[in-house]
């Protein structure tokens, strides 16, 4: 088994059956994993922020998986262009947590919730649905996808890994 760590802002797509995609330590970030059951293509993004418009001039070296509005169309669009059919795609998301207690009214504090919303909207925008989600709350998570069998796994920090 080859593990590919999908770091913040990374986008990974694989057709290799021996690969496990892993988005580790998701705090306010949201990991999205997608699997095509027919053609066995697996994809994952590790999204940090909801909207690329926060940057007036987007750095050309900016990672493609960083912002939900760019990352989701990029990943799902790529799968569709590789011949995936919408009805064969399974999509699962995890992350978008926030700090327990918040003082003040800065917009930064609900960044997790904004990420979740942006990801869900972007998936909807591609005429697809999220099949399963473990999001919000005050806990870190790790999301995994086995490209061989399309099994998804979720690990909440301090707990056992579960199939998801």
């Amino acid at each position: 088994m080859q593990e590919i760590i999908v770091k913040m802002g990374d986008l990974e797509l694989t057709t290799k059956p021996g690969v496990i995609l892993i988005a580790p330590s998701l705090g306010s970030c949201v990991g999205l994993a997608v699997y095509d059951q027919k053609s066995r293509i697996a994809g994952m993004v590790h999204i940090v922020l909801p909207d690329s418009n926060v940057k007036h001039n987007l750095n050309t070296e900016e990672k493609i998986g960083k912002y939900a509005d760019i990352a989701i169309p990029a990943l799902l669009g790529k799968m569709l262009s590789l011949g995936s059919k919408r009805e064969n795609l399974i999509i699962k998301i995890a992350g978008g947590a926030q700090m327990f207690n918040l003082k003040g009214d800065s917009s930064i504090m609900n960044i997790g919730a904004k990420n979740i919303e942006a990801v869900e909207n972007a998936v909807k925008g591609m005429n697809l649905v999220v099949n399963n989600a473990d999001t919000g709350g005050n806990t870190g998570r790790t999301l995994k996808l086995n490209a061989f069998n399309g099994n998804f796994y979720l690990k909440v920090i301090g707990q056992q890994e579960i199939e998801f």
Binding site: C29, K55, M99, K103, G104, S107, I108, M109, I111
Partner: protein, 290 residues
């Protein structure tokens, strides 16, 4: 409860960490009359430290075309300020780079988390023109030092602490204090004081989860504390080596925003975007110290 605290302090007393050398170096650096000779003598007395220091100076990060072969040479090339953060970083690794069970941290987690907090702190310090970004690095690096000792007690009492967090809607550190008798911030500060850390570091350790308390206690460098408080939050939200307690803390954004316009509400998402771009630097630092 009191007995518990006595026992913990006793335990802390018996622990041998190698921070003393870092403290000595940093005290010497703060002394205007210190010479490169004095410093190199002090460092060379610790062979393991010397080897690691030279190795780090010769890493690609500094890009010296000629190999650094002596401590004297190293100091002359990197300068006093970087020397200080480098020594603290090197000596912290052996303590921080281990499994910290009570907080659900696997080996490497707390180390990664601390390095991230250090790098983010230095970045924020530069952003707001704080006068000593390297000091911010060290303060960010060491803020969770109390966890090194408290984790065993947290492990025993974890269910109780978690129950109290949920029942009373208080933060993890508040629950730690109620159940164990003191939290990782208070214990860290006591230990840091015992080991003769400079006051400024004792304060950032003590108040990094509640800067507002520091204001009441008239802590001398509030800006540094605010920087570390916010860097701690960013480290957690961006998920670097976080533990079971990490998100069960509190963030005081009013306090953070008082650092000035670069940290105002409108700039936050853009700031996070920039902060994420520091991640390769964190990876470098971690692999250079392997």
């Amino acid at each position: 409860m009191k007995e518990n605290v006595q026992e913990i302090l006793q335990k802390a007393n018996n622990l041998q960490y190698n921070f003393h050398i870092a403290i000595k170096v940093s005290k010497l650096l703060d002394d205007d009359n210190a010479s490169i000779n004095d410093l190199s003598k002090l460092i060379e007395a610790d062979q393991a430290l010397t080897v690691k220091l030279l190795k780090h100076c010769n890493s690609a990060e500094y890009g010296f075309s000629k190999r650094v072969t002596t401590v004297k040479d190293a100091i002359a090339r990197i300068g006093f300020k970087i020397l200080k953060t480098m020594i603290f970083t090197i000596v912290s690794k052996s303590s921080f780079n281990q499994e910290i069970k009570g907080y659900g941290l696997e080996k490497g987690d707390l180390w990664r988390n601390s390095i991230s907090c250090a790098v983010y702190s230095r970045y924020l310090a530069k952003l707001i023109d704080y006068n000593d970004p390297d000091q911010a690095f060290t303060a960010g690096l060491l803020r969770d030092i109390g966890k090194l000792i408290l984790h065993e007690y947290v492990r025993k009492e974890y269910d109780e602490i978690e129950r109290l967090v949920n029942k009373e809607n208080i933060t993890f550190s508040e629950a730690e204090e109620k159940i164990i008798g003191l939290n990782h911030c208070q214990l860290g500060a006591l230990v840091a004081d015992k080991w003769n850390f400079p006051q400024i570091l004792i304060d950032t350790i003590k108040y990094h989860h509640n800067p507002e308390k520091a204001e009441q206690d008239e802590c001398e460098d509030m800006d540094l504390l605010r920087i570390v408080h916010f860097a701690d939050y960013l480290t957690v939200m961006l998920g670097y080596g976080i533990g079971k307690d990490s998100m069960l803390q509190e963030i005081d954004m009013d306090c953070v925003e008082s650092l000035g316009p670069p940290l105002c509400n409108e700039n936050m998402e853009s700031l996070i975007s920039d902060i994420v771009n520091l991640n390769p630097e964190i990876e470098h630092l971690i692999s250079n110290l392997e």
